[in-house]
């Protein structure tokens, strides 16, 4: 007879004890599989949800780009053409009086074969002190649009100021209490108030508009301008870069800046919406991550508790078994078995229980997982490696749980046991 026969016979004899221990190990294994599956499922759901959000965002951005292209194609760009020598600081702060270019540049552009540039308005502007009112203002001289040779006449986008007239920004005419038709003395000359602008809340409330030739004369810059406005420039590609290149071909010593384009403003508005959408996706991602972390933290507490509980039960059952077999162990020692053999008998049983519990746990966990997780979710409940790891871990854990009772049994003094008889 061999020790293995003794172990198997004892397993068969104390079936209830063995089945409870196997169930404890199986429960622990099933819990590991279920937790793993739950975390994987949550991760898969999160990924799918984020993927849907990202897909929606992509569609939205594509649609927006398409809209932008269509809108800009219809509305065109507004550009300002400055002398190349004008630095950006002066341009942005409206202090470009010292930079000038010939007025004929506007005609040169108008007479070119460019189709992307329309509504050309040559302008001279400068910041000056209105001597009669002792106020700093911007004087702007404009004229009618320069007719373009290769195009049919178009409706003017901007109305010109007739000679002998002046238009004033809101701050100027309201502070001076002027009405249309009132005489206005400006830089030693008298003009008739042609137009009063509504309040805009910008520096344009401090501007005085004159006919270009009269402004040139007052500023002593005959034949000079410093800005050409090109409004609603069309471009099939909706590309400001192309407009710049076209202008540079004819006016190489100028620079082109985009400004106040309607399409651009719409784009900015939609960009904000896009940013909002991106924030929503980021928020959903963060929420999914937080949910996953929360679940992991919960599992990190619950799972060890289940495993420890199962091992405690196996340890307790082994201890109970060892106490129940006290005389048996005493007799086995008396007939010559080493304490090592007693250790093998107890731990061998634990090893078999752990192995059986591992197999049952894996099978039950796999079946429950497959039954609970929707088939639509293409998820592997348990990989071969994970199953093997569990199959190794379960007997090892059972061995650890049975170790102390086994050592106590092996250390039993047979003389004490037999004297108790």
């Amino acid at each position: 007879m061999k020790l293995s026969r003794l172990i198997l016979a004892e397993l068969s004899h104390r079936r209830l004890n063995v089945l409870i221990a196997i169930a404890a190990i199986a429960t622990a294994c099933t819990s590991v599989i279920a937790t793993n599956a739950l975390l994987s499922l949550q991760h898969t759901h999160s990924e799918q949800r984020i993927a849907v959000y990202q897909e929606e965002l992509k569609d939205y951005l594509d649609e927006m780009n398409d809209d932008f292209r269509k809108i800009t194609k219809k509305d065109g760009f507004n550009v300002r053409i400055f002398p190349k020598s004008a630095d950006l600081e002066s341009v942005h702060f409206g202090n470009i009086g010292k930079f000038t270019m010939p007025e004929e540049y506007a005609s040169k552009l108008a007479n070119s074969d460019l189709v992307s540039v329309t509504h050309l308005l040559p302008t001279l502007q400068e910041n000056i002190k209105w001597p009669e009112q002792d106020r700093l203002i911007t004087i702007i001289g404009t004229r009618n649009e320069v007719p373009q040779a290769h195009r049919n006449p178009r409706k003017a986008i901007q109305e010109s100021i007739p000679k002998g007239h002046i238009a004033l920004g809101h701050e100027l005419h309201s502070s001076l209490k002027l009405k249309i038709g009132d005489p206005v003395t400006f830089m030693g000359q008298t003009f008739t108030l042609y137009k009063t602008h509504k309040e805009r809340g910008t520096k344009e409330d401090l501007t005085a508009w004159l006919h270009l030739s009269e402004a040139q004369k007052l500023l002593n810059k005959q034949g000079l301008i410093n800005v050409i406005l090109a409004l609603e420039c069309k471009c099939a590609m909706a590309d400001i870069g192309k407009v710049r290149k076209d202008i540079a071909r004819f006016l190489p010593d100028t620079q082109v800046l985009e400004w106040g384009t309607k399409a651009l403003r719409r784009m900015e508005a939609r960009s904000r919406v896009s940013e909002g959408k991106k924030e929503l996706v980021a928020k959903a991602t963060a929420e999914a991550e937080a949910e996953r972390l929360q679940l992991e933290q919960f599992a990190a507490i619950l799972l060890p508790l289940i495993v420890i509980g199962a091992l405690a039960l196996v340890g307790f059952l082994t201890l109970h078994n060892v106490r129940e077999r006290r005389y048996e162990i005493g007799v086995l020692r008396a007939i010559g078995l080493h304490s090592r053999s007693i250790l093998i008998i107890i731990l061998g049983k634990a090893l078999i229980i752990g192995f059986c519990g591992g197999i049952v746990g894996i099978v039950v966990g796999y079946l429950i997982g497959n039954a609970q997780i929707p088939q639509a979710v293409n998820m592997n409940i348990l990989s071969i490696n994970e199953a093997l790891a569990l199959l190794i871990a379960a007997p090892c854990c059972a061995l650890a749980a049975a170790w102390l009772p086994a050592v106590l049994a092996a250390q039993n003094d047979p003389a004490i046991i037999l004297r108790e008889e």
Partner: protein, 219 residues
């Protein structure tokens, strides 16, 4: 075969020290069948366990088969038991989940040389019970299984603790006859018993009183 020289065993009890064996000297040679009688607590079981290599004396020497047994390690003594000693208990101490045949063969777990289990089954009238569990046997049959187990390892010594204490006269006779046969074949038997009739089967009867052996009862 068994030689005890000035063996003294003292236990620490809750009310102080208890004298188990009081300076006992005893010699049993091969073929001896010795019984020890005495009241409960007189030290009979202590003597048996001391001879069985499981209870080291406080002082004195125990020599079994020319070996100073308590100079050996625990595992070496276990090996010695497996090789030289068979035990017979009043409560049989059969392993409940093993069959009769397997119970008889348990000394094999300790790796000792062994007799044929079938011969033993036949010898003690157990061949029809070979595959039964101990719970399915009568009291007498259980002790016969215990006796077959004690003889399975072909021991030189049998230590019997009240072997007939729970048996009817018929089964008592079977057990005592088997022990007599064992001693006649050169084995040494040390039997502890309460029963005068059982003690009469031994070649030599000893009386134990408060840890001391009375030699005046020698047959």
């Amino acid at each position: 075969m068994i030689h005890l020289s000035d063996v003294r065993t003292v236990f620490q009890g809750p009310d102080g020290t208890v004298l188990g064996l009081d300076t006992i000297s005893l010699s049993l040679k091969a073929g001896d069948f010795v019984s020890v009688q005495g009241a409960s607590g007189s030290g009979k079981s202590t003597l048996l366990l001391t001879c069985g290599t499981m209870l080291a004396p406080t002082s004195g020497t125990v020599t079994l088969a020319d070996t100073d047994i308590y100079s050996l390690s625990g595992n070496q003594r276990a090996q010695f038991r497996a090789k030289h000693i068979g035990f017979l208990f009043q409560q049989f101490h059969l392993i409940p989940y093993l069959s009769v045949r397997e119970n008889i063969c348990t000394p094999q777990l300790a790796g000792c040389k062994h007799a044929s289990p079938d011969d033993l089954l036949e010898q003690f009238g157990l061949h029809e019970r070979a595959n039964h569990k101990p719970s399915q046997l009568s009291i007498g049959e259980r002790q016969r299984v215990g006796l077959a187990r004690a003889l399975f390892g072909k021991p030189k010594i049998i230590l019997a603790d009240e072997p007939t204490g729970n048996l009817d006269p018929e089964n008592s006779a079977i057990v005592l006859d088997a022990l007599s046969t064992f001693s006649e074949q050169g084995g040494t038997v040390l039997m502890v018993t309460h029963e005068e009739e059982a003690a009469q089967h031994a070649q030599r009867q000893l009386i134990m009183n408060t840890g001391r052996l009375n030699d005046s009862c020698s047959a």
